[in-house]
């Protein structure tokens, strides 16, 4: 007579194992996502130089990302410059150095804030829309339909969006710079009584063309990163409407984080 011993039920992993597993899985997800974004970026580059050039799609995205963000970027830039001038002048007055308000605002805007804030505005306004639109197309199998019709979805859907992000964020950065300096001038000269000559001459003294180039380059990198992340998340969304919403949330978080991380890396490289 043979007896069969019942198989032992699988043992529940301990909390430590679960933590390590989650950490590892998260790490794998991050690296996978990064790899997926880079792969998609290479695809986008490859398809962007191949015919047919879909200029109508491209201009539609340029319009949506760039022109559509003018108002919010102008408003943000103006108030950023104003509040920055106000706060720095309060601090500089303690040391009798109000003349440094102009250069401080100018350097901060051109090197850092303009690019970062412009990219954040584009992420919130256009990035989320890109992600949602692509995710909806994915879950409703419109992307598959495109493939069925022998239309490459990367070329048709992603290339215009990524190029729009790449080109429009630097343009919006320049707009942010201008509006921010205008706001700072109004507050410093009109409100705080700093002489216009001092404001302009000291700004001119300390501001270098390299600072502006640096800001624009940052804007381009941020625009590329944000559009790639949003497109990637939306393009690979799954799980119906809920999946689309989750993908959009992840895209926003990842985009914002990438902006700040890239800003630090570029800042170290430029400095």
């Amino acid at each position: 007579m043979t007896t069969q011993t019942p198989s032992k039920p699988a043992r529940e992993p301990g909390p430590f194992t679960q933590a390590v597993t989650r950490f590892g899985q998260g790490l794998i997800d991050i690296v996978s996502t990064l790899g997926g974004i880079i792969t998609m970026g290479l695809d986008v580059f490859r398809w962007s130089v191949r015919r047919p050039f879909r200029l109508v799609n491209l201009f539609a995205q340029l319009d949506f990302v760039g022109v559509g963000s003018i108002f919010i970027v102008s408003l943000t830039g103006t108030f950023t410059g104003m509040v920055f001038a106000l706060q720095t002048s309060t601090a500089f007055q303690l040391f009798d150095a109000e003349s440094l308000v102009g250069p401080t605002v100018a350097l901060t805007l051109t090197r850092e804030l303009a690019a970062v804030f412009s990219a954040l505005m584009v992420t919130m306004r256009a990035g989320s829309a890109m992600c949602t639109e692509l995710g909806t197309m994915r879950v409703t199998e419109q992307v598959d339909a495109l493939e069925t019709m022998a239309v490459n979805p990367v070329q048709y859907l992603l290339v215009p969006r990524v190029l729009a992000g790449l080109f429009m964020v630097p343009a919006l950065t320049m707009l942010f710079n201008t509006m921010g300096m205008g706001g700072a001038y109004v507050v410093a000269v009109g409100g705080l009584g700093i002489s216009p000559g001092t404001f302009l001459s000291r700004t001119q003294q300390w501001l270098a063309p390299e600072d502006i180039f640096q800001g624009l380059l940052k804007g381009a990198v941020f625009g590329l990163a944000v559009s790639l992340i949003c497109c990637f998340k939306g393009f690979n969304a799954s799980g119906g409407a809920k999946g689309v919403g989750q993908a959009t949330t992840e895209a926003m978080v990842a985009s914002a984080l990438s902006i700040f991380i890239l800003d630090f890396i570029l800042g170290v490289l430029f400095f």
């Binding site: 500089f92 150095a97 320049m174 710079n177 003294q205 300390w206």
Partner: protein, 509 residues
């Protein structure tokens, strides 16, 4: 339409962003100095903290350059400066590091150097560097002061610290107590005497104050006199020493000469005294002149009158002119010689001698007595003669208008001139000969005078505008009525005449 609108909007954004970019870059570029418009020099600093690339370099608060670079050489900072080309840098230039604010924002003050020193070329070194100014220097001074205070307190601690020091302090205090007791006792013993002394001193000071208060001016004068006297005495002694010399013979001769001189001087003084006495008593012409008050007053008034007259004469300007015009209807010329006396710029007297071909008409009344048959008893005869006419007018100018009144061509008349273009053009109106019975209207003359160059003018106009022409039956000479004329003239001022006479000389008989 939709296809067009979208690219257009995108294009607008790109153009705006590009314009902002170019503006920003140009604005930022202007902040720096290019190599072509600057001189690049360098200086060593022991401490370059607070200095930054593109930091200001200024002279008298005016930016003239910027810091181009900072490098480390050994233990010193080599700071490169770009200075504007129009700054004349010399080898003895001085650069001073100075804090601009409490934040440690530093700038460089530049003294470009003296003119005598050689020029500092591109790549040259500014050797004189002051790099411990501003808050750094203040902190350094404070640090030194603190060290000094510490040194003093340390010395005090050494002197007064410990048992020995405490004993010394106690002895000093005991001595002070004894000394104060002794002073107190002395004062108590001699209190009356001290009161008396103080009272005396007070009385003396009151006397002195009374003297000085009432006679401050005298005292000041006395002191001044003493000062003058001592100075004079010093000069006299020096002069005596020079005159007398050092030898005994010289002294005798000098004394004899001095006596003789004094005697002559005494006589001269006697004469002067006699003269002054007579003058004082009003004797002689000089005495009357000086002593008589009425004569003096008259003399002063006379001198004032003479002075006023001389002033008028020196202010008076004269202008001499000649004018010749051709009279169209008359077929002859009219010549005028004029002298204009100008005591003030707005007033003048005009004297003219006029040679007028119309001549002067005189009416003679002939009475035949006894009357001959067939002839009237009284006959009237008009005689036209060629004679010079005289004008003498007084003129006064207000702004661009001059009014004249007086004798015009030997008859009473008035005139008015309007001046234009800084007196280069003159419109002239004369009205005269009001009393002539033969003329229906007074003689009215209008002319336009243009002066293209100095001293020369052209004139044209119409004479006797209101009356019809009348001619002498025998000679066909026009004796009345309108006539056009054209001509020119020359005039010279007295300054011109002086210059001409200086050059040509005055003819002597």
């Amino acid at each position: 339409m939709k296809k067009l609108v979208t690219p257009f909007r995108v294009g607008l954004l790109v153009i705006a962003a590009g314009a902002f970019f170019v503006t920003f870059v140009l604005f930022a570029r202007k902040g720096g100095l290019s190599d072509s418009e600057s001189t690049k020099v360098w200086a060593y600093f022991r401490d370059a903290s607070g200095l930054a690339v593109r930091g200001r370099v200024q002279i008298a608060g005016i930016p003239v350059g910027e810091i181009d670079g900072i490098t480390l050489e050994g233990t010193r900072a080599k700071v490169w400066l770009k200075i504007r080309d129009d700054v004349d840098l010399r080898e003895d230039a001085v650069v001073t590091k100075r804090s601009e604010s409490l934040l440690g924002d530093y700038l460089l003050d530049l003294n470009p150097g003296t003119e005598g020193a050689p020029s500092l070329e591109t790549g040259g070194q500014i050797r004189r560097v002051v790099d411990t100014q501003g808050m750094e220097a203040v902190f350094e001074s404070l640090s030194q002061i603190t060290a000094d205070i510490q040194e003093v307190t340390g010395a005090l601690r050494e002197v007064l610290g410990g048992e020995r020091g405490a004993g010394s302090l106690q002895r000093i205090v005991e001595n002070l107590v004894r000394l104060s007791d002794s002073v107190d006792a002395t004062v108590r013993r001699n209190a009356d005497r001290l009161d008396t002394i103080v009272g005396n001193v007070e009385a003396i000071s009151q006397d002195v104050r009374g003297i000085t208060q009432g006679n401050q001016a005298e005292i000041t004068r006395i002191i001044d006199n003493i000062e003058f006297i001592t100075r004079d005495v010093r000069q006299v002694l020096g002069s005596v020493k020079n005159i007398v010399g050092t030898g005994e013979g010289d002294v005798k001769e000098s004394v004899a000469s001095l006596k003789e001189t004094l005697r002559k001087l005494d006589g001269a003084l006697g004469n002067i005294e006699e003269i002054t006495r007579k003058v004082k008593e009003g004797e002689g012409a000089a005495g009357v002149l000086l002593a008589d008050e009425a004569v003096g007053r008259e003399l002063r008034e006379t001198v004032q009158d003479v002075s006023r007259f001389a002033s008028r004469l020196t202010d008076l300007q004269a202008e001499i002119g000649i004018q010749s015009t051709y009279l169209a209807a008359q077929g002859n010329s009219k010549n005028v010689f004029s002298v204009r006396l100008i005591p003030k710029p707005d007033k003048y007297y005009l004297l003219e001698l006029v040679d007028d071909p119309r001549g002067s008409v005189t009416t003679e009344v002939l009475q035949t007595n006894p009357p001959s048959e067939g002839d009237p008893v009284v006959q009237t005869r008009k005689v036209t003669k060629e004679s010079l006419k005289v004008s003498a007018q007084f003129a006064k100018r207000w702004y661009f208008t001059t009014l004249r009144v007086g004798l015009i061509e030997s008859t009473g008349g008035v005139g008015a001139d309007l001046h234009f273009f800084n007196d280069a053009l003159r419109f002239q109106m004369d009205a005269f000969n009001f009393a002539d019975d033969e003329l229906r209207y007074p003689r009215l003359r209008a002319s336009l005078r243009a002066q293209p160059i100095d001293h020369l003018y052209l004139i044209a106009g119409m004479d006797d505008m209101l009356n019809a022409q009348q001619r002498d039956l025998a000679t066909r000479r026009l004796v009345a009525g309108r006539d056009f004329f054209v001509g020119g003239g020359l005039f010279f001022t007295d300054d011109d005449l002086k210059a001409i006479l200086t050059l040509t000389g005055i003819p002597t008989p």
